[in-house]
């Protein structure tokens, strides 16, 4: 509970940023802050998987893409050709489809964003279960390669399948109306409300994960990371916990994918690329693996800078460099105690025993 109170200053910051941006006429910053928030949602989910359950995933961009692409595909591809299909008719009569018109005045019938979002997230969860059961039996390099392989397959699929728009991706994705007139969309008028929607979702996700970590399940997970053998002998069903965490993080990634896609009005194959997955891992590593706050902070800051184009054509290089430098000098993140010790060491304050990580 005490830890949750830290949410309040964060919330204050979020509001302060909006107020400052609105009053200084720099609302465009909010756009990148919104996008950063969605990426950070994925990152805190990955943080729990990597830092607490101790499982690396080099394929999380894949889950993001599964969420985004399915939602985009369902809300843009017309179902008119399948009008006579029983399922389509059933969905239509239940009000789960939306009728409309294309730019050229053709009749259009698509899945409503709500249903599409649900389908996308469930699909990501189901795929995570099927991938996770075999993959999570692996360790170390094997796990890294297997998840990397999964990510590449998803990338190939979105690049090769016509439904997903091949190299162009999917555009013209409609807004996603939530409730009370709020809607996830990139239109100028909705900038401020979308900023709050994104941050609301991120903070909600953060609270859920903070709760999880400080609970029976969370202790079990951290135990797995500390010593899998001992956790197992304490009665922690390690395999199931790892799988559940994997699925949870996949769902976070998919939610991020769905919302960001509706916000941007489209999604392209680069979102599924290996570099994206590596970038997420890098950010979690900088934040300190087992440090949700660190992951959140780094997720927002680094994504914001990257989206602002600060790194220019060195975008990927910056993340590669971050990855190496952090892993070489501060494997527990730049906020960690041992890193501070090492800094002190540099200035000759006696030898600190290097703490071994699992």
């Amino acid at each position: 509970m005490k830890k949750l109170l830290l949410i309040l200053p964060l919330l204050a910051c979020v509001i302060a940023i909006q107020v400052v941006c609105s009053s200084t006429d720099t609302l465009y910053y909010l756009t990148q802050m919104t996008m950063s928030a969605y990426y950070s949602l994925l990152i805190i989910g990955l943080c729990v998987l990597m830092g607490y359950a101790g499982q690396i995933s080099l394929g999380h961009a894949g889950f993001f893409a599964i969420g985004g692409y399915i939602s985009a595909g369902l809300t843009t591809h017309s179902l008119i050709p399948f009008k006579d299909n029983a399922l389509v008719q059933f969905l239509d009569s239940s009000g789960l489809l939306l009728a409309g018109q294309t730019l050229y005045g053709e009749e259009l019938l698509v899945v409503s964003p709500g249903l599409a979002c649900a389908v996308a997230i469930i699909a990501a969860a189901v795929i995570a279960v099927f991938i996770g059961i075999p993959v999570l039996k692996l360790k170390g390099h094997y796990l890294a390669m297997a998840t990397l392989g999964f990510g590449i397959i998803i990338y190939r699929v979105v690049l090769a399948v016509e439904y997903f728009g091949e190299a162009d991706g999917i555009s013209e994705v409609p807004a996603f109306p939530l409730f009370a007139g709020l809607s996830v969309s990139g239109s100028f008028g909705d900038r401020v409300s979308n900023y709050y929607i994104a941050w609301g979702i991120l903070l909600l996700g953060l609270i859920l994960l903070l709760n999880l970590i400080d609970s029976r399940v969370g202790r079990g997970l951290r135990g797995i990371h500390g010593s899998e053998e001992a956790a197992d002998a304490m009665g922690v069903h390690t395999a199931r916990f790892k799988l559940q965490t994997f699925v949870l993080s996949a769902v976070f990634a998919a939610v991020a994918g769905v919302f960001l896609t509706h916000y941007n009005g489209g999604i392209g194959p680069s979102e599924a690329g290996v570099m994206k997955s590596v970038r997420y891992v890098a950010i979690v590593a900088v934040g300190g693996m087992a440090n949700l706050w660190g992951a959140l902070l780094m997720g927002v800051v680094l994504n914001f800078l990257s989206l602002r184009g600060v790194f220019g054509s060195y975008d990927d290089a910056v993340f590669g460099l971050i990855l190496i430098v952090i892993m070489l000098f501060a494997p527990n993140g730049i906020l960690s105690i041992s890193f501070r010790h090492r800094l002190m060491q540099l200035f000759g304050k006696g030898k600190q025993k290097r703490d071994g990580e699992a």
Partner: protein, 252 residues
Amino acid sequence: MALLEIKQLHKRFGGLHAVTDVSFPVEAGQIKAVIGPNGAGKTTLFNMISGTFPATSGSVFFQGKELQGKKPYQVAALGMARTYQNIKMFSGMTALENVMVGCHVQSSAGFMASMFRMPWTWKEELAIRDRSMELLTLLEIEEHADTDASSLAFGQQRAVELARALAMDPTLLLLDEPAAGLNIYETAEVGRLITKIRDLGITVLLVEHDMSLVMDISDEIVVLCFGEKIAEGLPAAIQKDPEVIKIYLGED
């Protein structure tokens, strides 16, 4: 039937027979010790009993249930707890949290309940915390409750590990060299503690190199050598057993 019944247990690592046809019972309420020179297969025996890895052949019955094929977490749920020869702390967690993990089998909050902090988990959480604190107090390390467990002194880590095992409220407790690396005072303390644990009604199976400790507290002793059981009996009888004497004198 005895609480724990080990029957013709056998373990091979490649060409190495680490444990060969070992059988013995552990009666409820006793302290039973397994001794033997380095590499005799004691830890391997523990690992098979607790399900860390499967036996090559043979079987283990705990409370009449066959354990073969059961995973460690399933064995733990049946009421068996253990400690490790080279301590396995949950690093990055406080001493208190380490012990709280021990309460895992006694509690039930799942993923969803934990994430959404269901009201019924509050009470469970409090109970876990109280019980863990109690155990730390029992082992006299309560002042280190909020210290990172892996930064504690060696003896304190042993205590945390023991508290963690006790938190599982086990019927049977497996202790792998609980006095290794401790000085004589601490060793004597551990001896008293183990007796106290037995008096609480917990059966103890113990591996230990410290002979005086073993002779002091155990009700029965099994001697392993090169994976085989060469003697079993009361401490007094073991002390006089010519074969055991040969091994220990021949070794030192």
